[in-house]
Every structure is written in C-alpha cells, then in structure tokens.
Symmetry: C2
Subunit: 388 residues, 2 copies
C-alpha cells in the first residue's frame, strides 16, 4: 500500500512466528481434575496476542500470561460486533504425542470470515505454528483422560477507538485455551430438537456461513424458548419450504433409506446459511472415502450414498411416516457428533431411532472414525503434530 | 428470584441513581474546535459505568474518568456479540438550556433489545437521570455552534468469563459522550444509494428490528462494495418483491404523488426487519400532527397522506417513470434527515428530485421541525431538560 502522508510504498507485515516474544507466567495455575472441567470456564497459563494496525499490518506476536485485555469503551468490537472466532482442539495420544485436528480448515475459515467484516487476514500456517508453540508451553493443561482435549479459541476483534461504522483501523488477534472433558459424560445421550419457524439463524444474502460473533448471541433466546418447551436445541429452518439448515451451533446430518433401499447420508449444501464446519467436512470426506477405502460397519458402498442437497421438514416427516428416517445427528468440534431422538415440528413430535446405544450406526461409526484420527489411533494426514 | 444455594428469595437491584459514586477526572481534556470534530472520535472527561450480575442485579452506578475497560479475553461479548447500543444527543439552546431529545424512546428500545439477547433490562427513567448527571458534569464539552451537539452512546455488553453460548451471568452498561458537529458541513448534500440484492441487512424472523451490535459489522463490506460502484450507501431490500427496508444505518422515507394527486409520505411498517428509529417515529408523529396542528409548508392536510406500508423497488421505478417519485430520504439520529438523489437498481439509476437546496420540501420541513424541537426553538414535550 501507499502511505497517504509520505507517498511511499509501505509493506504491511504478515504474522511472523520468528518474532514471537515469550513472557512465561510467573504464577502458573493448577489444572482442575477431570470431573470439575466444564466447557470454556478455566483457561491455561498463557495466551497468544497479535495486534494489527492498518498502517503497519501485524505486529510481533506475544505469548504471555493469560490475563485481561485493556479496551477503550469506544472500541468498535463493543458496539458493532467486529468479532469472529474459531474453535479447534489439541489432543494427547496414548503415547504422549500432541496433535491438532485439521487446523488448516480453521485458518481458512477464519480468514474468510475476517474478510467478510473487513478485519485483517493473515498467513494461516504462521498462526498455526504460533498456536502450536502456545500449546507446547501449556502442554501440562491437556487432560490425559480419554475423550478429553484442550479447546483452543482463536479470536479476532476490531479495536478501533472511534464510533464510525467502517473497516476497523486496528485489530487484535488472541488465542486462549481451555481444558475440556468429554461432551457427554457417562455415554451418549440423544437430544430433542425444536424445529423453529419463529426465529431464523440465517437467511440467503446474510452472514450464516461465516463464523462471526454476530451469529451467536441472537441464538440464546430461541434456545431458551426451545428449552422451555422441553427441547435441548433449535433445529433452524429456512424458507417457506422449511429447509433444514443447522442444529443449535452444529451442522446437521440426516440418514434416510432411499426409495431403492440404499442408505443415504444427507446434509444441506454449503450456501449462504450453512457454516462450513470442520467436522461436517470430515464426516463427508470419510463417508465418501468409503467407496475406495471401506470403513467397517458402513453399508456396502453400492448401497451407500453421500448427498449434499437441500432437505425439508415435509420430506423428513414423510420419510418418518414411511419408516425411512434412520438417523439425525449434529456435527461440530465441541461434541464431534450429537445424536437426535426427537424433533418437534408444528406441534407434533417426529421420533428418530437411536437404538440402545443412544445413537444410530452411521453416527457411531463417524464418531469412532473421527475420534480415532484425533487421538492418533488411526493414522491420518488430518493430524497436525505439535509434539511427537 | 430464589437463590439456588440458600433457597432464600433474593431481590435483584435495579439501577439506582441515588447510589451513584462520582470520581471527577483529575486531568480534564480540551474540547476540539468545531472544524476538527469528527463523529465519535473524541470523548468527554467522564463516563458512566453500571455493572450487573445475575445474582445481585445492578450495582451502584459510577461516573468516573473516561478510560479503558478491563475485559477478560473469555468475555462473551468478544466471542458471541452479546452487545447492543443506543445513540442520542444532548443539545444546548441559544439560552444555554441543555436538553436530550426523546430519551424515553431510546430507553424503551434499549430494554427491548437487551431482552432479545438475554441481557438485563433496567429502569429507563433511572438511566436517563444518570445520563443527565453525566451530561451536566461534561457540560463544557457540548459545542455551542448551530448544528452541533453532544452524541451520547449508551452501550450494554455481556461480560461473562466463560465460553458457553447462553445468557451472560454478568454485564456492563456504560455511557460515553462525544462532541459532534453537523452531519453535513457546508449545506445539505444528497447521496446516491445502491439498492442491494446481493446482501441482506435483515430477514423475517431475524434481528433487524433490534439495535444489536450484530447488525452493524456485517454492513461494512456491502457499504464498501457500494462505494466502489460510486454509491454512498446501501438501500437494503427484502424478499423477492424487493421491498425497501433501510438506508445504510438509517430508516427510509419515500414521498410519492398519489394517483389522486395527493402527496404521500411512505415508510416501511415496523416489522422484523425495520429498526424502530426515534427520528423515524418523530417524522411520522409530526407528519400526522399536521392534520390537527398545521405545519407551515406541508400540503393542505386533505392532500397529504402518511402511510406506513410496504413499498417495493418495482413500485419506485414505476413512480419514477410516471414522474410521481417526489423525494427519498433517510432518517436517523446522526444526520436527522439525509436526502437521496439517485438509486442504483439492477444496473440502472433512478434519479430522485432534490432541487436547488439538495433536498426536497418534505425532507427540509421535517429537518426544520425536528431541529427546532431539539434546540428549543420550538417548544416540545420531546425535550428532556438536563439543565434549565
């Protein structure tokens, strides 16, 4: 870019891991035992912060003690929701190896989301390296029990101290980490969904496909309303056709028996209203790989179809009545998969089979295959090695 | 509410102005001269802060030196956009009287918006009193030149330090103030709008009618895209009918000549996608009062209709072709009114008459009537007296 004052060409700095400044925490904390862990409530000793300005680009990264940020009350993030985040996890294998799961997907989505609200983009590989450094520093915070992990929360906020609505002239990227236990304590428990027609999560032409902060707070009241009616989460619908889109803050999968008897794994296609989830992509990739590299337990590949296509509530109701609705499950980083046993829709409940295990066979297989790759039981190039 | 630990009934405290703690700024600043004022860039010596917790309710308010907030990096506002704001102005009349303009409307909307994302509500009258105290303390920051005012920005954020998506268990309400000059320096300048079909600001079932932070950052890129095509702002459309909704961050008015020759002032009705603007309401109230209390310059009331009804781009195009499109203007607290002279739509420009003054007669009259009431030239019960 050209400096408007000097007329000289200025190079904006990208994130540079070699410049990282590390300040160890002089008062390291004590990780909670597994049974006291609760999602996103305790944090590790350190955080990564990288400031940005529109004139200089990204400043030197800093890993320093976890602690409060100082923000002017005029910071745009507090007024206009110039904010976005990612969620990924670090896993410790039985052998002690530490890996991240597909961080390249998070980095790509984070950059895509940043562009959508005019926040700065960056070299995703560089940020991944810095996250790996942070995880290594806080390695002792990664719980070692099965199903546990270290949840990593990269966040990017606009910090301009002026109230005009426009591209923020400064920003702060920070990464915090929180040890988490299994989403389901004591085995899988299927949830009930309320198919919402009163509220929409996202609309065509809107921001639903971006991991923007703005997509989350508006979902709190609809969730409470669903809970008051006895449902755990919302099943977000779209359009007068009542197309299924997402489940709470997860992507959605439906398993149907097709007209020809084949098993169909269906998820809505990526468009304006669907978040491109890493777990969603992993489920699709695994299911599609079955044709060339068979996965134990899945139907023979000639009887198994993977379909990204719109699916509506009337179709779901019809499939249920014809006993062709086999499974419904959510997919996301926090729960990996989340089986559904009941969907409230227009005053009636659609019951979804879950069997004795609390989840259908496809859901269970996908869980096994993904967890296997996250924990190193199944070798995979989805694992990014933080420490051998 | 019942305390979950003790079983005792607990009363949550509302905002109580009598508890206010005042800490004067030991280093008061110097207000900028009028020509250096720029919207929302400089702030007064003090700010009002009122913390809230779900167990205690609102704590004692504090007026203290303007300065940074300390927020944990896990504060939900930075991740999920649990944030909302209001905008109102304090005006100094020729006689030195200081008033706010219809603060009751802002308080009502702020409470309604807070409920939408499960942030705490409060006694609007109490907050208005505290804002008045803040304005009195920073009185010297209210510019005295015509068209100037003190912009007041109440903001409410969720401050819970845990990453679960749910009702925030703590919050912070703060109010900051910024001296502002006239929106249009050197007379009115009409703007060009790009009627957008690519992006939507809001959709039925969504959050467009709430003054949530989440509605603002997503508008930045569409605005930049409009600017690259030579338009100042977006004209946000809705539905396949291309109904007009809002202009940038303002409400929208259209003036038409009706089939019978009468003048029609049209604005979209309040629904899911329209923000209930204070200026919008003021324009409507004034226009409707014309029947009983004639306003100089408006057509005779028998030839003047005020209509809250949907209006679409095809209707606008048709009215333009039939020379029945008389005026288009935006209405909001920052600009009061904002005349429009051109609307880009599906690759063509619709030209809107603005005359020599840069704004049509209805727009000009509304500006005169509202400014008159804001500055005390026209007596009005819309003025809330901060200081006689």
């Amino acid at each position: 870019m050209t400096d408007p004052l000097t007329g000289k060409t200025v190079t904006l700095h990208d994130i540079d891991p070699s410049l990282v400044k590390i300040t160890p925490n002089p008062n390291p904390g004590t990780p909670l035992p597994s049974e006291k862990l609760s999602f996103g409530k305790t944090f590790t000793d350190h955080m990564l912060v990288i400031p940005w300005t529109s004139t200089e680009g990204w400043a030197a990264p800093e890993i320093k003690p976890y602690g409060p940020l100082s923000l002017e009350p005029s910071s745009v993030v507090l007024h206009y929701a110039n904010a976005l985040f990612e969620g990924l996890k670090a896993y410790r294998s039985a052998s002690g190896r530490i890996t991240l799961f597909r961080p390249d997907m998070n980095m790509r989505r984070m950059n895509r989301t940043a562009e959508r609200i005019a926040l700065p983009t960056f070299d995703g590989q560089a940020l991944t390296e810095l996250i790996a450094s942070l995880v290594r520093m806080d390695e002792r915070w990664i719980p070692s029990e099965p199903g546990h992990s270290l949840y990593i929360r990269p966040t990017l906020i606009g910090t301009q101290n002026a109230l005009g609505v426009g591209p923020s002239t400064s920003a702060l990227l920070f990464v915090i980490c929180s040890p988490v236990g299994p989403y389901y304590k004591g085995g899988f428990k299927p949830i009930a969904l309320l198919a919402t027609t009163k509220h929409v999560r996202a609309a065509p032409g809107g921001i639903g496909s971006y991991k923007l902060a703005a997509n989350y707070a508006p979902g709190i009241i609809p969730q409470l309303e669903a809970a008051m009616e006895g449902y755990a989460q919302n099943l977000w619908l779209q359009g007068k056709e009542h197309f299924l889109t997402e489940v709470g803050t997860m992507n959605l999968f439906v398993v149907l028996r097709g007209e020809d008897g084949a098993t169909e794994l269906v998820t809505p296609p990526l468009d304006d209203v669907i978040l491109p989830g890493v777990t969603r992509d992993s489920v699709l990739a695994l299911a599609r790989s079955h044709a060339s590299t068979p996965i134990t337990g899945l139907p023979p590949s000639k009887d198994f179809r993977v379909l990204e296509r719109p699916i509506s509530m009337p179709e779901l109701v019809r499939a249920s009545k014809e006993s062709r609705l086999l499974e419904v499950f959510g997919a996301g980083t926090a729960a990996i998969v989340c089986p559904v046993d009941r969907i409230g829709y227009l005053g009636e409940d659609i019951h979804v089979p879950v069997g004795e295990k609390g989840m259908g066979p496809i859901c269970e297989i996908m869980h096994r295959e993904i967890v296997g790759r996250q924990t190193g039981v199944i070798p995979s190039d989805w694992a990014y090695v933080v420490k051998e």
